[in-house]
């Protein structure tokens, strides 16, 4: 099967049947379920530690009324993290490279924070549109700018994740292709390219983790403003 560079980004089908749902739900199966034993095996212990650590890190700046978002946001982070990291394996499909999926995650979460803010503290929410200490003449312009930045947030959230992952995957493909093509022609350059590829892979692992974390971190920040 010959692969073009963009086959990895097309929605996966098998014998004409879309298996995107399997691709999205498969990462869930690799996480061990919490058990009712007191001492667990290493995998479950580290999973528990990781979840409690990230929850405390993300949610300690929030008021207690925001802590009820902990479950969904940490689930989201685990979802994105697992998808990003599994997508680095060869011949896998990464659902988070699809803009449709990322936007469908970003817009509802962002909108929920806005609606909570508008419903519970409308004055404060509108007040966020004007930073403190701005000179009087700049107020109209700044309100427009802040409103724009407010509405661009979901787009930024979705596109950031999509662009980072798509670009990373594409780069891996390109450099791997270059290395593959150069292998019979100039082996020394191919080896250099492969070294570059290894560094890039390390970067991509970091990017995968960071992008998942940043997505959820920004959502907690938006929540913090509005809760």
């Amino acid at each position: 099967m010959t692969l073009s560079f963009f086959d990895q980004f097309s929605s996966p089908t098998f014998l004409g049947m879309p298996i995107i749902l399997i691709a999205i739900t498969l990462p869930w199966t690799i996480f061990p379920a919490p058990s009712n034993r007191w001492l667990n095996n290493r995998l479950l212990t580290v999973q528990d530690w990781f979840f409690s650590y990230t929850t405390s890190q993300l949610f300690s700046p929030l008021k207690p009324s925001g802590h009820k978002w902990a479950l969904i946001l940490i689930s989201l982070m685990t979802f994105l993290l697992s998808m990003n990291l599994l997508g680095l394996l060869p011949y896998t499909f990464t659902p988070t490279t699809q803009l449709s999926m990322n936007m469908s995650l970003a817009i509802p979460f962002w909108l929920a924070t806005i609606l909570i803010g508008v419903r519970n503290q409308p004055t404060m929410t509108l007040g966020h549109l004007l930073p403190e200490g701005t000179p009087t003449l700049l107020i109209p312009a700044l309100i427009i700018i802040e409103t724009t930045s407010l509405f661009i947030r979901p787009l930024a959230l979705g596109v950031r994740l999509t662009a980072n992952l798509t670009a990373g995957h594409l780069l891996i493909q390109l450099i791997a292709t270059a290395s593959f093509i150069l292998l019979p022609i100039m082996p020394a350059i191919a080896i250099t390219t492969t070294l570059l590829l290894i560094l890039l892979t390390i970067l991509e692992i970091a990017v995968a983790i960071i992008q998942a974390y940043v997505f959820v971190l920004l959502l907690t920040l938006y929540l913090q403003e509005n809760i």
Partner: protein
Amino acid sequence: MLSRLVLASGSALKNSGSFGACMVQASRSLHSSPQSLAPVPPLPEKGGKIRHGIFPEELFTLLYPKTGVTGPYMLGTGLALYLLSKEIYIINHETIAAASIGAVIIYGVKKYGSQVAAFIDKLNEEKVAKVQEVKELSMSSLAQAIENEKKEQWRVEGRHMLFDAKRNNVAMLLETNYRERLHMVTNEVKKRLDYQVQLQNLQRRMEQEHMVSWVEQNVIKSITLQQEKESIAKCIADLKLLAKATQARTTV
């Protein structure tokens, strides 16, 4: 076949009975096993044995009787060569990408695997240590309580000594008090007697003085004028004699 029917009807009856959807009972129909879920069987301490990170040891033990030690490796090599030669798997850029991510993962696991395992083990150890500490603390406090109790029992044995000492103490105090009061009484009585003695002395002395002064007064009164003149002339004559004698002594 009839037994299958019995089993099926038995499980159906169990399922549709008043116990509702009790799958546990359905799987143990016809009362063939003990009905207890506790104690929970212990988890295996370590995971299954693995060779080269992904292949379970069971595969090797499975193939060992027929193909010996190199059997699984030959299987792997043959499989790989088959996939390549029949072009079921084609080497392309993804292979290189797979090689790079494989290298990174293997390097990460080999270098940091033991550290991560030690960290996780430490998390579990801390959990156990906290509870163990509570247990140790309660055990040591109970042992301390036993020691204290034993000491109290020993103290009880020496109680009579304590009481003797206290009794002696009290007796001594009483004795001291009695002696003090005796002293006080003696002193008081002596003071009163001294007073009486002094009074008598005073009386005698005053009588004596009075008598002496009376005698003196009478004597002075009885000295007549003639006697006075005579005594004075005598004194003068004596003095002259004494002067002469002294003069004579000094010139000699």
